[in-house]
Amino acid sequence: MKRGPLDYGRSPWLIAFAIVTFIMLYAPIAQLIVFSFNDSKRNVVWRGFTLKYYQKAWNDVSLVEAFVNSITIAVMCTIVATIIGTAVALWLWRFRFPGKTAVEGFMALPIVIPEICMGVAMLVFFSRMGRWIGSFESGPIYWWSELFSIWPLNLGAITAAHIAFSFPFVAVVVRSRLAGFNRELEEASRDLGASEWQTFVNVILPYMKPGIIAGALLSFTLSLDDFVITFFSAGPETNTFPVKVYSLVRRGVSPDINAASTALIVITVVATILAMKLQTPEKQG
């Protein structure tokens, strides 16, 4: 079939360009995954399949601990960020109030400012907090600080920082879902005798659900992936997976980093694909 004037999708140049781009995008990652199974320490030549680097990574106590920390932070962050983000989305979707534009801009700030600025801000904030709390020798604040040295609460600072940068993303996702909501559905529910709470539970919440799940998965991957903010807000005694990998990478390439990275890639890719699936818009009546 002959190409029409607007059939750019069938232009051989464009297709070739896109294919090359995709290859360049995926080749390094593919190589990383493949070599995590390669039975050779340094060489880039395939020497046979092995799982020994996974075993090695698994037996590295500090690596596993960092991994568990990362997952724990991500789970805690997801729960809180999803609740806060959903509330914010509802708030901005539902109400008009003076200064709303300013609030919207303010809520978008954590998304747009360079990560490093937020990172150093967190570093300063938590060190100040630490010094202030450290000045108490007894009393409620002292007891609280003791409580926060127990796992997983000792990850509280990192988690709080993660929540701060990920809940605005949740709010954006949920709000864009809500933007498609037909407000007559809400009115219909009220008209049929439902109270405001019944309407929220039976009509609005089911509608928001895909957005909430997508937002939750988004905040999960954001938290799991974050290096910069964690790097700055983590104390010397807590390690997360990206921070640990960073210290390893600085020492050079090794297959057990590949193995650990592959595990993290699998987790994030699965979460992302799930999120994308749930975000596909559905028809509404």
């Binding site: 004037p5 880039v44 150093v120």
Partner: protein, 296 residues
């Protein structure tokens, strides 16, 4: 939309958690370093806010100006390369068969979800002296019998220079550029292109006179979306750049992690913030103008 006074309970219940969190864990920390950028160190641990501008003045010292300048041109160049690659890719996806589009889009976005650190690390494995690229080149070299003619293959030093940083930035941020471009090209009414072709313009003329101007908001969003994080990037130059490829992000990190000069680090990070705000203002301006013109 409801007036907030009509339902104060719901208003405050939905508003407070987010406002509180952002205030305590974002605004207060930022204010803290903003204040600190006007401060002076009085001892190893103590910093006094004196209202001095010395920290900002220091950023204008030749050594730092050079780094800022380098960060700027590296980011500009990397952004330009991103745009040059992302536009055709986004364009191709938009004009691909409808049922392929979600998959292609997913393929573009997926790397962006993979940890930045891991992706940078993957690049090291490709570019290092004994990495895949050099290995492949050596194989080609030997295949062409050049080793017999000229001598053994000398591995190229591909890492630890400005070029590696630019390649790394492009690799890491390219997917980010595709998204806003895709969104605007997708919304572009095909009949504008048909009208231009119908009126006698060539394909290239149509592209530069119709497609590009009409997708300008997406181009601007994309540029800002990748330029700001590039400028503040610390990981990529740290891992791929050598000692000579330092960017602002590395200087800031040094001030906080090694040099222990927090006021200066704070001033540098707020310099980044000011640049960010300027970029956002540019985008707001472009958005407002294009809204007025195209009437979208």
């Amino acid at each position: 939309m409801e007036n907030w006074k009509d339902n104060r309970l719901v208003f405050w219940v939905t508003a407070l958690p987010g406002v509180f969190w952002l205030f305590v864990f974002f605004l207060v920390p930022l204010t803290l370093i903003w204040l600190m950028s006007f401060g002076e160190k009085t001892s190893i641990l103590d910093i006094e806010i004196t209202g001095t501008l010395a920290n900002y003045a220091r950023t204008f010292q030749a050594v730092y100006l050079k780094i800022i300048w380098k960060s700027l041109w590296i980011s500009v160049l990397a952004t330009a390369v991103c745009l040059a690659i992302a536009y055709p890719v986004a364009f191709g996806i938009c004009f691909s068969p409808k049922r392929w589009r979600p998959l292609l889009l997913l393929l573009v976005i997926l790397p962006f979800w993979i940890n930045l650190l891991i992706r940078t690390y993957a690049l090291i494995a490709v570019f290092r002296t004994r990495g895949t690229l050099n290995f492949t080149l050596e194989w080609l070299w030997n295949l062409a019998f050049l080793d017999k003619l000229i001598g053994p293959f000398q591995p190229l030093e591909l890492l630890y220079n400005n070029g590696a940083v630019i390649v790394g930035l492009v690799y890491v941020f390219m997917p980010f550029m595709v998204l806003p471009l895709y969104a605007t090209i997708e919304r572009l009414d095909r009949s504008y292109l048909e009208a231009s072709l119908d009126l006698g313009a060539s394909q290239w003329r149509t592209f530069f006179s119709v497609t590009v101007p009409l997708t300008m908001p997406g181009i601007v969003s994309g540029i800002i979306l990748v330029f700001i994080p590039m400028l503040g990037m610390f990981l990529v130059p740290d891992l791929l750049g050598g000692t000579n490829a330092i960017m602002i992000g590395n200087v800031i990190t040094d001030q906080f992690k090694a040099a222990n000069d927090w006021p200066f680090g704070a001033a540098l990070s707020f310099l980044l913030m000011y640049i960010t705000f300027a970029a956002l203002a540019v985008r707001a301006f472009v958005d407002a103008r294009s809204k007025g013109r195209v009437g979208v």
